[in-house]
């Protein structure tokens, strides 16, 4: 085995150098840049000062966006659990011949472009969209209701994007439950509901929590749904970063906001890993 010790490193060299060079070093640059100064001329001046962070927490404007991001992420997580658990449970117990097809179908939105899934809500909820057209037709309303560009539509876009992740995570952990446990519970006199509450639900919680973490992390960094389906008051932290970096070219401040977002996610992922273990998350990707 001794003579082989260089081999894994040779195999790992391309991917490790790619990730180090193109991810880790650039992220370090973001951290360094977040302490720099921005001259009035727009030039970046190397420095070590907390001005960019102070600016973020100076008044309520920026923290409000941060809090909104966290709130929307929690709302998305809860809605995804509520909407995702039952379909996953259905796949687990269903004996339909078409079960595999159903499962493939719930994955299908993965393959449909994110931007198309997001903008498709405009067709549904726009002033001349499907819902208004229907309500006008049946005479329930006289003039179209304006439904777009608020937090609700942003949430719709987010759920459309993230629900498959949740369903998949829950399904993977349900699939791992030995069905004979359920039969045993039923034999001992449990009702179907009791068997679910006492056996299935607790055993599926690792999948639920993995799904929650994934959905939270992906929502917190999301850019597109608030951009396309939200109004001016629905910006999330990623939109702010984009505006500062691409819009006003304020690299140091944009970097500082990126570091704040990264720290938030790091704390959450670290806490999760400490108490629950991160590996469950990766299982769902290996399933398909």
């Amino acid at each position: 085995m001794k003579s082989n010790s260089w081999k894994p490193w040779a195999l790992l060299a391309p991917s490790l150098s790619a990730v180090f060079l193109l991810l880790i070093i650039p992220v370090c640059f973001v951290i360094v840049y977040s302490f720099w100064l921005r001259a009035p001329s727009g030039a970046d001046i190397p420095a070590f000062q907390m001005g960019n962070y102070a600016k973020f927490f100076e008044d309520f404007f920026y923290p409000k966006i941060l809090i909104r991001t966290i709130r929307i992420a929690f709302e998305t997580v809860i809605l995804c659990v509520v909407m995702g658990y039952i379909p996953a449970y259905y796949f687990y117990l269903s004996q339909s011949r078409y079960k595999q097809v159903f499962l493939l179908l719930i994955m299908l939105p993965f393959w449909v472009s994110f931007i198309i899934r997001t903008m498709s809500w405009i067709n549904i909820m726009g002033d001349t969209g499907l819902i208004n057209h229907f309500l006008l037709k049946i005479g329930l309303i006289e003039t179209p209701i304006s439904m777009l560009y608020n937090e609700f539509t942003v949430l719709m876009g987010l759920i459309m994007y993230l629900l498959p992740f949740m369903v998949l995570n829950i399904y993977v952990s349900l699939e791992g439950i030995d069905k004979s446990l359920l039969e045993a519970a039923r034999c001992m006199g449990c009702t179907e509901w009791q068997a679910f509450r006492e056996v299935t639900l607790p055993l599926s919680l690792p999948g639920v929590s993995a799904g929650c973490l994934l959905v939270f992390v992906l929502t917190a960094g999301t850019y597109l749904p608030p951009m396309i389906l939200g109004g001016p008051g629905n910006d999330m932290i990623a939109n702010l970063i984009f505006k500062r970096v691409i819009g006003t070219l304020d690299w140091p401040f944009g970097s500082a906001i990126s570091v704040i977002l990264l720290s938030l996610l790091f704390v959450i992922v670290w806490t999760y890993n400490r108490y629950l273990g991160i590996n469950q998350i990766f299982k769902s990707f290996q399933g398909n």
């Binding site: 391309p14 991810l23 498709s120 970063i241 992922v269």
Partner: protein, 265 residues
């Protein structure tokens, strides 16, 4: 175990409604692509192909499609290539720090694309290089690598080491063993990984918005800039083409690989 209870019926209805929620918007995009009228969305006034024809005549959209296809294919090749090597290292060898390195390689999944976009762009700025196609390519390789790695690793775990050892006992060297034993067994996962990488690259919007220039716009970036004005039937038609392309590719690949494996066995 048969299910006839009212609870089970409710579960089925609920699942059905979730499907409606997930699919209605996508179906509506495809239906509206055939909407002949220029302004407003509903009601539809007949069926027409005029927006598809207009798309086919739009030089900049054809250009964006070409960019996306080239970018997606190259991303798939590079990402799968280095992903296979890394998977072999993780599954076939023991070495110190294995778990840590595995986590590092999977970390791009957990880092928001916006941060990745800023980070790579900032690095490029430090190196005083202009944005280019190469930036998009390396960025997309980093984005897709974790998924390829996960898929290939999962398959590799299931391939018994004994096959490779048998080949070696019979006198094959390491490369021959990989070419004649491991690679054919790994092929489905390699194809799945490459396909996944292609689709992620083809669809990616957030990070690509940071990295793309006017010269190398991809289709999602093009749609994004078209959406600035408002939704139009032309965007729906473009969406329908994208859906057709990204949905049929994996289905076709799955069908072909099943057919292929039947022929072999």
């Amino acid at each position: 175990m048969k299910h006839f209870s009212p609870g089970w019926t409710l579960i089925r209805i609920y699942t059905f409604l979730v499907y409606v929620f997930m699919f209605a918007p996508i179906v509506v995009v495809i239906v509206l692509a055939f909407n002949p009228k220029q302004f407003g969305i509903f009601p539809m006034e007949g069926v027409s192909l005029r927006w598809f024809i207009k798309l086919a005549q739009n030089e900049s959209i054809i250009e964006a499609f070409r960019n996306s296809l080239i970018l997606g294919s190259l991303t798939a090749v590079f990402s799968t290539g280095i992903g296979i090597l890394a998977a072999l290292a993780f599954i076939r060898f023991e070495f110190p720090g294995k778990n840590t390195f595995n986590t590092i390689l999977l970390s791009p999944i957990m880092i928001p694309e916006v941060v990745l976009g800023v980070a790579l762009l900032l690095f490029l700025r430090f190196l005083q290089q202009p944005k280019s196609f190469v930036l998009l390519l390396i960025g997309h390789v980093v984005l897709t690598l974790p998924y390829v790695l996960l898929i290939v690793q999962a398959r590799l775990v299931g391939i018994k080491k004994e096959y490779e050892e048998a080949a070696k006992t019979l006198g094959a060297n390491a490369f021959q063993t990989f070419r004649d034993v491991t690679f054919p067994l790994l092929l489905p996962a390699i194809l799945a990984g490459a396909l996944f990488a292609f689709t992620i690259s083809f669809d990616d919007i957030t990070a690509t918005l940071f990295w793309a220039t006017a010269q190398n716009q991809t289709v999602p970036v093009k749609i994004f800039s078209m959406l600035r004005n408002s939704i139009s039937p032309e965007i729906n038609a473009l969406g329908a083409v994208m859906i057709l392309l990204t949905v049929t590719t994996p289905l076709l690949a799955g069908y072909l690989s099943r057919k292929f494996s039947k022929v072999r066995s």
